[in-house]
Structure formats: structure tokens, C-alpha cells
């Protein structure tokens, strides 16, 4: 339903997309997962025909996004990261306007709009101006606007960023329902690992404008055998010492130091901890805390992007100044 091949796009100094490729099967939710600035929003802009890629090709709902943008636009619904709701209009007027611009008319449109608003729990608020809506209501109105013309493919760019946890859970339920009941193909971008894990049946991990890993959440996690060990060091300046200190600890693999945090894997994490601590202690490396966990998508991310999610987020915020028109602005 969506195919991207080697998409590239540059904004001045920033290579937002650097050969991005992935494919989405019909009727599934596909997650593009990555930190802020990874290129997810740019990918959505290219696939929804808002922006033009510098290179590569993409097809959405069977149409080429570069050569046939008008046909793509008729087949897709877009919920951008920034809400596109007009606050001066009522919820219903917002949906009706979008419907008219999508070529719907009269009774057909009115019925569709009312049904959608009711489905999304906005029936009571439909005749109030949208600027009085809560964040969650605005987001649901965004979805109603995106769905009014019965698209085949729905793009959700960070649909739950900035929402309260409860509202986020409700939004997740809504997104799952849309796929199940409407048979929609949904492309979801998110920087919440949990969100991708919960919703997406397949996902691609994006870092610096390219896909670094893809598969189902379980496949990606299964690639990582054993438990994840996370050690907070007392001092960031130890660097290479740590690696040599741990060279002879049995069962410990994939040792990586990321600032003050040491990541490693072990078949049996809990049993490895004493030996790990002893080795660090013998090299006089202070330890603040140790965590042992089952593999998560965060670990997947670390493994494939070579840096932890939090570190990637922090790095992207320093380039965000030149870049924030194009990628997730801070909320």
C-alpha cells in the first residue's frame, strides 16, 4: 500500500532523508519509530505529497507520489503532527469544509460528517467552535477531518505527542479500531517505543534519515538474545577503561558505553551482575545503579542505531534550531 525506495531529501545543511526505504502491507499499522529529528516527519511530508523528495521514488495506494500527486491526495488521509484544525470554526464545520474540498457534497457529506463525529465521540461538541476543545478532542477532530473522504491510507504523524496518558490510551484504542473496522492501512510515526510496540504490526526504526532495522516488534526484540543490563556509572570519564575492565566477565556481550551509561547484554542478567560489579570495582570504576530488564524496543534501537534513544533525542535537539520547521518542533 505504501512503498518508499531510497528517498532522499535535504534541507540546507540537514540531510533529513538519506535513502529511506520501507514497504507497508494493506490493512496493517506500520510504525516509523525514531527520535525527534530522525526524518519521520519528512518521510510523511514526502509520502503525502506535501514535500518533494530530492531523490528516490514512492508509491502510495498505487500512485506515484511525484508523478501523480493529485491521485495520491484523493486516496490518503493525513493527520499531521501540528493539528490542522481551524479553531474559529465548529468541529462540524471543519469536517464539512474538508469534505467539500475532497469533492463530497450535500446530504452525503452531512451524513458522513455526523457519523464520523459521533464515532469519534465528538457528537456533543460538534457545534461548538474548535478552539475550546481539549487536546484530545482536537486530535480526534483531526482524525475526523482526515477520514471524511474515506481514504484507503491514513498517515498519523506523532498522533499522541503532547496528550495526557489517559487520552493517549484512548487514542491507541481508536487507532486500532480504525484498522480493524475500516480496513485502513495506517502509517504511524512515533518516538514513543511503547506506542509502536502496542499498535504496529510491523515497524521500521529510523535514524538519521534511513531505516536501520525493520520487522515486527517481536522479531526485532527476538534478535536481541538475553537480558539487557544498564549500569549508571559514577563518572563519565572512564570510557575505554570500562570495556577492558569487562573483557573477562563471562556471559557478557555487546558492551557499549554511552556517556555515563553502560549497556550490555547477558543470557542471564541477574547472575551476571555480581561478576560485572566485581570487575568494575577492581578497576576502581564507581557505579551508581544497575538495572536488569527484558529486551525492549529501546534496546533494539540502541542495537541498531548505535546510540540510545535518549541520547539520539538529545543530539537532535542541538540541530533542531536550524531544522525545526521540518521536524517535530518541541512542544
Amino acid at each position: 500500500m505504501i512503498e518508499a525506495h531510497g528517498l532522499t531529501k535535504r534541507y540546507g545543511e540537514v540531510q533529513a532523508l538519506d535513502g529511506l526505504s520501507f514497504a507497508v502491507a494493506p490493512g496493517t499499522i506500520f510504525g516509523l519509530l525514531g527520535p525527534n529529528g530522525a526524518g519521520k516527519s519528512t518521510a510523511v511530508k514526502v509520502l503525502t505529497t506535501l514535500a518533494r523528495a530530492d531523490g528516490g521514488a514512492a508509491r502510495v495506494a498505487g500512485f506515484d507520489v511525484m508523478r501523480d500527486p493529485a491521485k495520491v491526495r484523493r486516496s490518503i488521509g493525513v493527520v499531521a503532527q501540528r493539528s490542522g484544525v481551524d479553531g474559529e470554526l465548529t468541529g462540524r464545520e471543519n469536517v464539512l469544509l474538508q469534505g467539500r474540498l475532497q469533492g463530497l457534497r450535500g446530504r452525503d457529506l452531512a451524513q458522513r460528517a455526523d457519523a464520523l463525529l459521533a464515532e469519534l465521540g465528538l457528537a456533543d461538541a460538534a457545534r461548538r467552535v474548535a478552539k475550546g476543545y481539549s487536546g484530545g478532542m482536537q486530535r480526534r477532530l483531526d482524525i475526523a477531518i482526515g477520514l471524511v473522504h474515506r481514504p484507503k491510507v491514513l498517515f498519523l504523524d506523532e498522533p499522541t505527542t503532547g496528550l495526557d496518558p489517559e487520552v493517549r490510551a484512548a487514542m491507541w484504542a481508536e487507532i486500532s479500531r480504525l484498522r480493524r473496522d475500516e480496513g485502513l492501512t495506517i502509517l504511524l510515526t512515533t518516538h514513543y517505543l511503547e506506542e509502536a510496540d502496542r499498535l504496529a504490526s510491523a515497524l521500521a526504526i529510523v535514524d538519521r534519515g534511513r531505516v536501520v532495522a525493520h520487522g515486527t516488534p517481536d522479531e526485532l526484540k527476538a534478535d536481541l538474545e538475553g537480558d539487557a543490563l544498564r549500569v549508571e556509572l559514577g563518572d563519565a570519564s572512564v570510557g575505554g577503561n570500562v570495556t577492558s575492565a569487562l573483557a573477562h566477565v563471562g556471559g557478557l556481550r555487546e558492551v557499549q558505553v554511552d556517556g555515563r551509561t553502560l549497556h550490555a547484554r547477558a543470557q542471564d542478567g541477574a547472575r551476571t551482575v555480581p561478576a560485572l560489579l566485581a570487575a568494575l570495582d577492581s578497576h576502581a570504576i564507581a557505579v551508581a545503579s544497575v538495572t536488569v530488564s527484558r529486551p525492549s524496543l529501546d534496546d533494539v534501537y540502541l542495537r541498531f542505531a548505535g546510540r540510545s534513544f535518549a541520547a539520539a533525542e538529545a543530539a537532535s535537539s542541538s540541530t533542531a534550531a536550524t531544522h525545526d520547521n521540518h521536524e517535530e518542533p518541541a512542544r
Binding site: 493525513v78 490542522g84 481551524d86 464545520e93 469544509l97 475532497q102
Partner: protein, 257 residues
């Protein structure tokens, strides 16, 4: 046909937004009346200057105030576009099948509706204070058409600037920079014979003055219709070029998204 329908849909949206701001509507309707009464009173004795033709300054002033009102409100038309850009509405519209022209056209048409209503208020007020229009309804209509063409041009220009700068401050700066000079470099308040020569020369290249001259001629006692047609032709060309610039600007905007 869909482009026309889309333009109307977007025009209605803009008008709805407008009427939901009652204070704004009130100001829009009252301000031209204030200008008419204020300038009418302030410059009433201009008619005593030797060389001024005509005995009543209000009579002279009405086309000037009408065009000035159209020019002023049109200049701000792009502000709503900046608001839409900031709120993601422009991006949302750009991924619908709507072509680029209605995106500008909707705004410009909303401006035109506002401008015609303002013009009718001015004409009604002028009649109430004893101004008489020659050429009756036809003359008044042509005067409003001239103001409408001018307003269309400046509204499109304002939108072009909005799409290129995407900053309220830049647009406010540009509009305030142009408004008063272009208004006073015209025959709005003073007859050309009484203006310094260089202002008279500059005014001939000023679209604001084209509209004022066309409007004033259209409601004059012995209308020179060929002169009116000439100015209206120039104004139509001006509006067309500005609309073209605005669609170019929307493409430039999209190129950097």
C-alpha cells in the same frame, strides 16, 4: 469547475471566521465612517485654496476614502494566511486535491466581499451627509469595481508576502511601510494641480491613485469613460500580476516545506 467550488468553500470559511469576531466587524464598518467625517472636517477649507475646483470638499473626498479603506483592509489580508501557516492549516489544505489558485482565491474573494460591504457603508454615509453622486448607481458601481480591483491586487500581494516571509512582524512592517506613503502619494486628499510636481508624477505610477481617479471620474458630472476604462484596465493588470505572484509564492512555500 471544482476550482470555483473550492474557492467558494474557502471564501465561506474565511467569512465565517470574520463574522465570529464581532469587534472586528464593528471596527471594519465604523472606521471608514470616521475617516470620512474626520478628513471631511479637517480639510474642509481646502476648497478655499485658489485653484481648487469644486465647492464641497466632502464631495471630492469620498472616492479617496473609499479607495483608501479598500487599500488598507486588503493589505492585512495575508495575516490570516500567516495564522493558517502557524496552525498547520495551510499544510492540511495542500495535501487535499484543491489546486493552488483557490487557496489564494478564497482569501481574495473574502476580502472582496468585506470591501464591497465597507464601500456600501461609505456610500450610504456620504449620501447621508449630502454628497451627491453623478451617474447614479452605475457610477457608484464602477467606483466600487475600481476599489475592488485594487483591493484584489493588494490582498494577493499581502498573501504572497505572507507565504514568503511566514512572519507576522515582516508583514506588519511591509504593510505599514507602504500604507501611508501610497495613500498620500495620490489624489485622495488633494487635487493634482495643487500638488508638488514630483508627487503628481509619482502618483501616476501608483495603483492606489489609479483607483481613486477611476472612481472619482465615474461619479463626476461629465464622466470621461475612456479614462475610467484606462485606469480600470491598469488596475485589472495590476490585480492579475499580483495574483500570479501569490500563486508563485505558494509554490515557493511548498518547495521549502
Amino acid at each position: 469547475m471544482t476550482a470555483v467550488a473550492d474557492t467558494f468553500s474557502l471564501t465561506i470559511r474565511d467569512l465565517l471566521r470574520l463574522v465570529r469576531q464581532p469587534w472586528f466587524v464593528a471596527i471594519v464598518l465604523v472606521q471608514p465612517i470616521i475617516w470620512l467625517l474626520l478628513f471631511g472636517a479637517l480639510f474642509a477649507r481646502v476648497v478655499d485654496i485658489p485653484g481648487f475646483h469644486g465647492g464641497d470638499y466632502k464631495q471630492y473626498l469620498v472616492p479617496g476614502v473609499l479607495v483608501m479603506t479598500a487599500f488598507f483592509s486588503s493589505g492585512w489580508n495575508g495575516m490570516a494566511t500567516i495564522d493558517d501557516l502557524n496552525r498547520g492549516i495551510v499544510d492540511r489544505l495542500l495535501v487535499t486535491p484543491v489546486s493552488r489558485m483557490p487557496l489564494i482565491g478564497g482569501r481574495v474573494l473574502q476580502n472582496l466581499v468585506q470591501l464591497v460591504i465597507q464601500s456600501l457603508v461609505i456610500v450610504a454615509m456620504a449620501l447621508a451627509i449630502g454628497v451627491s453622486f453623478h451617474g447614479a448607481a452605475g457610477g457608484i458601481l464602477v467606483m466600487i469595481v475600481a476599489a475592488g480591483l485594487l483591493g484584489t491586487g493588494f490582498a494577493a500581494l499581502s498573501n504572497a508576502l505572507a507565504l514568503l516571509t511566514r512572519q507576522e512582524e515582516s508583514l506588519i512592517g511591509a504593510v505599514t511601510f507602504l500604507q501611508l506613503p501610497l495613500t498620500f502619494l495620490s489624489t485622495a486628499f488633494m487635487q493634482p494641480a495643487l500638488m508638488p510636481g514630483w508627487i503628481d508624477t509619482v502618483a501616476r505610477y501608483n495603483p492606489v491613485d489609479w483607483a481613486i481617479r477611476a472612481g472619482r471620474e465615474a461619479v463626476a458630472a461629465n464622466t470621461d469613460w475612456s479614462s475610467v476604462a484606462g485606469y480600470c484596465g491598469l488596475l485589472a493588470a495590476f490585480a492579475f500580476v499580483c495574483l500570479l505572484l501569490a500563486t508563485r509564492a505558494s509554490r515557493a512555500y511548498q518547495a521549502q516545506v
